[in-house]
Symmetry: C2
Subunit: 220 residues, 2 copies
Amino acid sequence: MNSLTVENYLKALFNLSNDKGEVNVNELSKHLNIKMPTVNSMMKKLFEQGFVHYESYKPVKLTDIGKKEAALVIRKHRLTEIFLVEKMGFGWEEVHDIAEQVEHVRSAAFFDKMDHLLGHPKFDPHGAPIPDKEGKIMLRTYKKLNECKVGETVIFKSVTDSSKDFLKFLNKKDLKLGTEIIVLAIEEFDHSTMVGYLNHASETFSGVVCQNIMVEKIGK
Amino acid sequence: MNSLTVENYLKALFNLSNDKGEVNVNELSKHLNIKMPTVNSMMKKLFEQGFVHYESYKPVKLTDIGKKEAALVIRKHRLTEIFLVEKMGFGWEEVHDIAEQVEHVRSAAFFDKMDHLLGHPKFDPHGAPIPDKEGKIMLRTYKKLNECKVGETVIFKSVTDSSKDFLKFLNKKDLKLGTEIIVLAIEEFDHSTMVGYLNHASETFSGVVCQNIMVEKIGK
DNA sequence: GCAATAAGTTAGATTAGGCTAATAATTTTT
DNA sequence: AAAAATTATTAGCCTAATCTAACTTATTGC
């Protein structure tokens, strides 16, 4: 059974993997708030355990086994988040930190029961898909709000930042998953984007905000 | 913040304390399945942190601060157990092991929410009282089933063994908390006791079983 | 294309929490 | 009260996971 620490490394590797599945030690180090030499030595351990491909001075890559293990941790995390929102009444901005703790509980029965009580949900409160018990995860190809064209109408599908601050910002702006958004204008200079939705005729979001809002074109 | 390990030591110390509040290092070692020298060195650490009174070759004793910290862990454990039974549909024989894990989650909001959703319960599924947020715990003076007199009618109030095996045994015998039990006979030789309850006109329980069944005399 | 910067690695130390083997104190038995 | 058994302690070692300082390799900017 993987230690809590290993679970956290696997999860981070999964979340940081780019399109090639690669992650730089440096990124990982910053993301986990753990110094590079520590991360480096952990990569060697994960390599010995068959969880990552590792070669000196190259980015690391999860193996298929590593991906599966990571997905199982992410499954526990996301099921917990939904449970906290749906069954316990927490707001979507509160659940990430609690789930970060609960995800390390070692009891299949516990998470299976959540899954059952929630009716086998497909997405967590932030729009991310739930891996199945074999670690298979549904891939969705949403685009970022600042990659849309002016005039497009899209649906807000997920966030890539689940931090309390970002989600509180969205709450304040009345933006929820499922909301229909019209792209009114994009400022080339700083990638800020003017949009309309619900009774918000015109709001302007910074590039940073738009990068974390994932949308899908309507009727597609 | 106490580590998971320290939380477990404190909980064990609390549960093993005799009427004088004392615990032998040896008992603790057996209970935690950790070798004596390790326990011994941990006692010194807990002493430095002000959680226990410690003198060489004497049993240890929780300080008031230690008792409070222990009670707060026990609070988390017991709230979790009730939540698992009441809100998630687990049997009382399944919850101890899961709660053992969940109790270490560091989030006051999480346990406060449980407490709220459960309507501030006073007892866990095994009949044990829930400490309050200040670590104050209600004392109840139940007696063991094998300390009763023949002819007494008592109510089954709590168990002192929450293991799966013992609780499955009670399930099989239809014995639940709240059941009215009549003591029919006590065998002095081995402390086995013959009782009647519900539609079980006569069942004989061994001394081991009777020691873990706590009861209260009716109308008292 | 080489110097400067950034990223990755090695070496060595630290802390928490565990172990075994040996020793010391206390308690129990004869 | 001495021997035996039990309980507690000390000494020394181990592993997981972290760190800092110093060094090496890659990348980037003139």
